[in-house]
Structure formats: structure tokens, C-alpha cells
């Protein structure tokens, strides 16, 4: 874990003091709402349907148990006793009072957390692979460079009033678990032929109204030059991105309009200028940050671990959970546990204060005191000994988070939708709940296999529906909630955008429609091993269209 030094602490507490001033000036009427809005947004504060919503950053998805307990305590003291983990590895509180926000930010600061730049037209929280540091297929722990980026982007004077929001994602692994090509800038840590670590930089991906898979703009940027390269990318955007139309203001539109080649050329032209300003961090600073992410001390354990193997044999439900929710660890005898925040019929990503405390306790006991947040709205215990997995699973059962559905059809992403969000057209959570109940049967879920359903309540696509194997988009048709289906999206290293399959379905019909899609897949797959997305890519949309709408 990164640990703040006196400078980080000073900057964080000065920020709290600054925002406290701004709130006072707003309440006194010195600042109008128009003037205040960008300031509050840059402190993570929105106005939603029912109240203010505060979005807390969980940089690159890593939490200490102390931080998780603080999040729980804030939920209890200042909100309604729960929080919502989002697709951008943030935590949202839904019932916040403006007057209390400075106090909440101070509480966050006391555990080295903040809500800086979790909204607004600035550089947002950097997301990363949730298995950072424990995945076997990793070139380098992505949190190192993510923390470098976090500091560089914090209160960046040049890039705090961009045309639109700006999101980074980083992965250090071959398998992309951070959906980097759906971000404004996606960074893939790579090794060149000389064995040096550097960064492949993808620019101009995104969801929203115009989904785009980001093109590769620069295959290799050396570590000591990354920040100046990023500044060049951002400056070209800040100077030339569109400000006349909010729907065309993201960098993806600039890159598309210029063409990736021309955009890359302009960045190259700008790069010597940003390099000359000395923004790149020295090796000593990277080394300092790297030291915080040194692997913890693991025990030497010989696999197979007899007790673990026996428990799996003895208990089929446990074996299922291991199969789905435990990811291989680079250290023998350990596993990385994904805690499903998707209990059947539950609200995806929600956890109560009590549950957060219980998970913190569990991590202290069994996972070296660390917790991760995934962009699929689940939590991870990254360092659990195989011998402890059975106990962890049993305890999770008591907490209500032992569903063995990671990557399966009930592991649904859903944005807050019309139940909370002031921009929504339709409800998302309610659909997720009904789908989850419809497909609750464990054996059926396993038979269906890997299948990601992602639901957004409006075209902003916070629920990543474009990247869902099955995507659901809520729209408003004459005051009625209507749901459009997209098929064939994927957010991993084979990133693709789902195709709209036809006219939308009413809330009553949408579950049945998804069931038809699933049954069509089961009928046409070549064997039990062919996943939904593989089958879809092989056969295309036609059979699904026919099943949904009949022959035309």
C-alpha cells in the first residue's frame, strides 16, 4: 500500500480546508450555483434525485482494512448505513448533506483517502487491474505507475478545466481486467526487446453515446518519459477538443476526427515542449513509490494443500465457489478471492456498514489486511492461503456475500439508474435483481458459463452496457421505461462494442427476452466449452434476432 508522507498529508488537508471555504461561500451566497458546481464536482459531490451524492476515490482499487472501516463508519454516521461500489472502483454515498461534506472529507483524509477529481472535467480516479501484484501474468504491478499518475494529475493546474472528463486505466497483465481500451487513456505495461519496462498508450476509447475501442497511439513510452508524453496527449486535447457540444467533447471524438495517425503526430510535435518543462519524475521517485508495493511476506507452502483439496471434494458448493471466485495466485498455496457483491436478488455493488466491517475483519484475519475493488463492482481478498479458503467461504456465507457467480450470468453490472441518478431514463437495479432471481439456479448458471450482463440506465453508459456480452440500455419511450439489448460486447483484451439487436423491451418483457437469448446460445453452441461470446462471434446476431423477433 502506498503510505502518505508529510507532503501528501499537507496537500490533502489543504484541499479539505479549501473546500470547506468554498462551501461556506456558497451557503453565504458569494458563489452562485453555476460557479460552485465545477468546484463541488471536483470534490466528488453531485446532486442526484434524492440528495447529494459523494463519490470517494479508491485509487487503483486498493484499500487497507483501516480505510474500509472508515468508509463503513462514514456511511453510518453521515449517510444511510451503506455504500455503493462503482464500475470505476469508487464508492458512492447517496444521502449526503452539503454542510457535512468538509467534515467527511476530513475523515477520509485521516485515513489517506479523498474524493478529489472523482467528477468534473478533469483527470479522474485512475483504475487498475484488481489482481495487481498477485496475478501470475503480470509484467509489473500497475499500481506503481498509477500512483505516479495519481499524484501528477492531482490539482494539475493546466488540466482541471478540460473539455470533458478524462479517465485513465492501467494494466500490467496480458489479460486485461481493467478494460483499458474503453478509457480516454489506457496504459498497458509492456517490456521491449531490450527487456526494459515501458508503456503502450491507447488514446480515445470510451463508452457513452459514441462507444469507441481506443486505438494504440504509441507502442512504447519509456518509464522516465511517461508523464511528459501524457501531458502532450492532454494538451493537444485541451487545446483542440470540442467545447461547443457536450456529446462531442470527449477525446475519443478528437482522435476520431483527426484520425489516430494525425493525433499521434500532433502529440509527437507537442512532446518536446512538455518534456522541456521537466514534469517527468526521476527514477528515485518511482523507486520510492515502488517500494510501497513490494510483495508482502508470503509463507512457503507446498501445493497441493491437502485440507483444501479435501474440502473441495467433500463440499460441491465450496468447490463451485473456488472454481468461480478464486483466482490463481502467483505464490503457491495462495489464492485471490473475489467476494461477490451480487447476492441473488441483491443490489449490485451495495454493501452495508456492517458488511464492510465484516469484510475488513476477514481480510485482517486471512488476507494480510488488504482489499481490492473491481470494475465489476465486486471486492477482492488478494492474499488468502488455500488452507483458509474454506473458513473464508463460510464466513462470507454469514455476511451474505458467498454467491459463487463471478463471471457468470448473475454477476451483473448495474449503474444506479432511475432509482438514484438524476440523469437516468430507466431503472437498472430492479432489472438486475429480477435477472439475478430468474437465473438463480447454480447448476444452470454453471451450464451457461461465462456471460457478462451489463446494464446502464441511460446513454452515459456508466453500467458499461456496450462492453457487456449482453448489454441492456434503459431508454425513455413516452414516459415508459424501455430496454434495448446489445449483443457481442467485450471489455477485455479482445475489446469489442455490442450491436443493438432490435427494438426495445418493456420492463415486463426484458427478462424473458434475455432468457431467449441465453437459450438460443445454449442451443447453438458447439460444445459446453464454447462460451457465449465465442459462439456469438462465430454465428453473429441472426439466430438471436430470429429468436427474439421471429423471422422477418
Amino acid at each position: 500500500m502506498y503510505i502518505y508522507d508529510k507532503f501528501d498529508h499537507a496537500i490533502t488537508s489543504e484541499r479539505v480546508a479549501e473546500f470547506s471555504q468554498q462551501v461556506t461561500r456558497r451557503l453565504a451566497g458569494e458563489l452562485s450555483e453555476d460557479q460552485f458546481r465545477p468546484l463541488r464536482l471536483m470534490n466528488g459531490l453531485y446532486l442526484q434525485l434524492h440528495a447529494y451524492m459523494l463519490r470517494v476515490a479508491i485509487p487503483y482499487g486498493t484499500l487497507s482494512t483501516k480505510q474500509l472501516r472508515k468508509l463503513a463508519d462514514i456511511a453510518k454516521k453521515y449517510d444511510r448505513d451503506y455504500g455503493h461500489f462503482t464500475t470505476r472502483q469508487n464508492l458512492q454515498y447517496n444521502w449526503i448533506k452539503l454542510e457535512q461534506v468538509p467534515e467527511i472529507l476530513a475523515e477520509l483524509g485521516s485515513v489517506e483517502m479523498h474524493a478529489n477529481q472523482t467528477s468534473g472535467n478533469c483527470i479522474r480516479n485512475v483504475t487498475a487491474d484488481q489482481f495487481a501484484g498477485v496475478a501470475g501474468d503480470e509484467v509489473e504491478d500497475p499500481r506503481i505507475i498509477s500512483e505516479v499518475i495519481r499524484q501528477w494529475s492531482t490539482f494539475h493546474p493546466e488540466f482541471s478545466f478540460l473539455p470533458r472528463k478524462f479517465k485513465f486505466a492501467v494494466t500490467g497483465a496480458a489479460k486485461d481486467r481493467a478494460a483499458i481500451q474503453f478509457h480516454d487513456i489506457g496504459i498497458h505495461i509492456v517490456k521491449n526487446d531490450a527487456g526494459e519496462i515501458g508503456y503502450a498508450v491507447y488514446v480515445g476509447g470510451g463508452m457513452g453515446r459514441t462507444p469507441v475501442v481506443a486505438p494504440l497511439i504509441k507502442p512504447f513510452v519509456a518509464r522516465h518519459e511517461l508523464l511528459s508524453y501524457l501531458e502532450a496527449c492532454l494538451r493537444v486535447y485541451n487545446m483542440h477538443g470540442r467545447r461547443d457540444n457536450i456529446y462531442k467533447a470527449r477525446i475519443k471524438i478528437l482522435v476520431r476526427d483527426l484520425g489516430p495517425v494525425e493525433y499521434a503526430r500532433q502529440v509527437e510535435e507537442m512532446w518536446p515542449l512538455t518534456r522541456a518543462s521537466g514534469v517527468d519524475v526521476p527514477a528515485a521517485e518511482v523507486a520510492r513509490i515502488q517500494a510501497f508495493f513490494a510483495p508482502p511476506v508470503y509463507e512457503t507452502i507446498k501445493e497441493p494443500v491437502a485440507a483444501f483439496e479435501e474440502s473441495k471434494k467433500r463440499d460441491k458448493a465450496f468447490a463451485n465457489w473456488v472454481k468461480n471466485n478464486v483466482h490463481p495466485h502467483k505464490v503457491p498455496g495462495y489464492g485471490a478471492v473475489t467476494i461477490s457483491l451480487k447476492p441473488i436478488g441483491g443490489i449490485p455493488g451495495d454493501a452495508s456498514s456492517a458488511q464492510m466491517h465484516q469484510i475488513a475483519d476477514l481480510s485482517d484475519k486471512y488476507s494480510l489486511g488488504e482489499v481490492r475493488v473491481t470494475h465489476v463492482q465486486n471486492l477482492v481478498l488478494p492474499n488468502v492461503k488455500q488452507a483458509d479458503l474454506f473458513a473464508v467461504w463460510q464466513r462470507l456465507g454469514e455476511i451474505g456475500f458467498a454467491e459463487s457467480n463471478i463471471g457468470l450470468i448473475t454477476d451483473i453490472i448495474a449503474c444506479p439508474g432511475l432509482d438514484y441518478c438524476s440523469l437516468a431514463n430507466a431503472r437498472s437495479i430492479a432489472i438486475a435483481q429480477r435477472l439475478s432471481e430468474h437465473f438463480a439456479d447454480v447448476d444452470r448458471q454453471h451450464d451457461i458459463g461465462s456471460l457478462q450482463i451489463k446494464i446502464s440506465g441511460c446513454i452515459n453508459a456508466c453500467g458499461h452496457h456496450h462492453a457487456g456480452h449482453i448489454g441492456i440500455l434503459g431508454v425513455d419511450r413516452a414516459g415508459q421505461e424501455l430496454y434495448q439489448l446489445t449483443l457481442g460486447g467485450a471489455g477485455d483484451e479482445t475489446a469489442s462494442i455490442g450491436t443493438l439487436i432490435g427494438p426495445g423491451f418493456t420492463s415486463d418483457d426484458v427478462v424473458g427476452a434475455i432468457d431467449k437469448v441465453v437459450e438460443t446460445y445454449r442451443g447453438l453452441r458447439q460444445n459446453a466449452g464454447e462460451t457465449f461470446i465465442e459462439a456469438y462471434r462465430r454465428v453473429g446476431p441472426a439466430p438471436f434476432k430470429e429468436a427474439l423477433y421471429g423471422r422477418r
Binding site: D5, F7, D8, A10, I11, E14, R15, A17, E18, Q21, Q22, R25, E30, L31, Q35, P38, L39, N121, Q151, W152, T154, F155, H156, P157, E158, F159, S160, F161, L162, P163, H224, R235, N238, M239, R243, L273, R275, A276, S277, G278, V279, D280, V281, P282, A284, E285, R288
Partner: protein, 169 residues
């Protein structure tokens, strides 16, 4: 309308010249960029000091030849959310080595001025009644910064590792 710097109101000796108005001999004038491009020879010889007002869509290469002789650049934005201002300021200072007064104009709030100062601006055109106390508080809000930028304080990286490690120029 008033002009302020980081400490508060300052005297403003500049007068704005309409495009059809001739400068008085030795006057301190702000002209449009179009006029500067067309009449720079006569302007620089007639007026005492010449400043120019530019907008967000400026091509800095076109401004470059005049920079050494300019006494003021006013960068105007019509919307406080138009962040091109910040990039223009930094480029003028860091890359074009422009050294004289640089003024931001538009519907700015005190809280943005700290960032503008860090991007190289030195003065601001504001409406009458601008909250000076808030300005003074806002520009003093932070003692440390992560980034090495234009004319701002020593970045945290350098404080952590000493000047020798303070990043390559």
C-alpha cells in the same frame, strides 16, 4: 471593471484601443491581435507600450514574432470552464519564454486564479465587486504541489529527493 494580481487590486495603466482608433504618442495600449498583425510597425513606433488581446483559438506561432516587444498579453475566455487559457499560459511562459505581464480575462472566480498563477498568469481583469478576500485566501490555499509547472513552487518530487533528482530539464 478592475484589475487584480495575487495580492489584490492594482493600478491599470493600459487603455484599450478600438481598431479604428490611433494611439496617442507614447501611450500604453491594448490592441486586437488582427490589428497587431497588420499594423505592428506603426503601433510599436507610435505607442509607448503595446499589449495584445487574444482568444482561445489563437495560433501561438503567429504571435511568436511579436512576443519580445509586447508589454502585456490579455487572454480572454467567455466561459469560466474554457480551460484553453491554462495551456496557453503555460506554453507562452515555458516554451515561448514570454516574460512580461500576462492577464486572464473573462468570467473567472477566485478559486481558478491560483491555477492561472501557476500557469504563468500575473494579473486578472475582473468585475467590480470581485471578492478580494476570497482571492487572497484562494491563492494561499496550498503550500505544496505535485507538478513542476511554469512559475510555481518547488514540486514535491524535488522536495522529496533534492534538486539533483528533481527531474530532468
Amino acid at each position: 471593471m478592475a484589475v487584480v494580481d495575487r495580492a489584490g487590486p492594482i493600478a491599470d495603466s493600459w487603455t484599450r484601443l478600438a481598431d479604428d482608433q490611433a494611439p496617442a504618442a507614447g501611450a500604453t495600449v491594448i490592441v486586437s491581435f488582427a490589428r497587431l498583425k497588420n499594423e505592428h510597425n506603426s503601433l510599436f513606433s507610435a505607442a509607448g507600450k503595446v499589449g495584445v488581446e487574444i482568444a482561445g483559438d489563437v495560433k501561438l506561432e503567429e504571435l511568436e514574432p511579436f512576443l519580445p516587444r509586447l508589454g502585456l498579453i490579455v487572454v480572454r475566455m467567455n466561459n469560466m470552464r474554457d480551460g484553453r487559457l491554462f495551456s496557453i499560459g503555460r506554453m507562452l511562459r515555458e516554451n515561448y519564454k514570454y516574460a512580461a505581464d500576462m492577464r486572464a480575462a473573462g468570467d473567472l472566480i477566485p478559486d481558478q486564479m491560483l491555477y492561472l498563477l501557476r500557469c504563468g498568469f500575473t494579473s486578472f481583469e475582473v468585475k467590480d465587486g470581485f471578492p478580494i478576500d476570497s482571492l487572497r485566501r484562494s491563492v494561499a490555499a496550498y503550500t505544496h504541489w505535485y507538478q513542476r509547472i511554469a512559475n510555481s513552487a518547488t514540486p514535491v518530487t524535488e522536495l522529496r529527493h533534492g534538486a539533483a533528482h528533481g527531474g530532468e530539464p
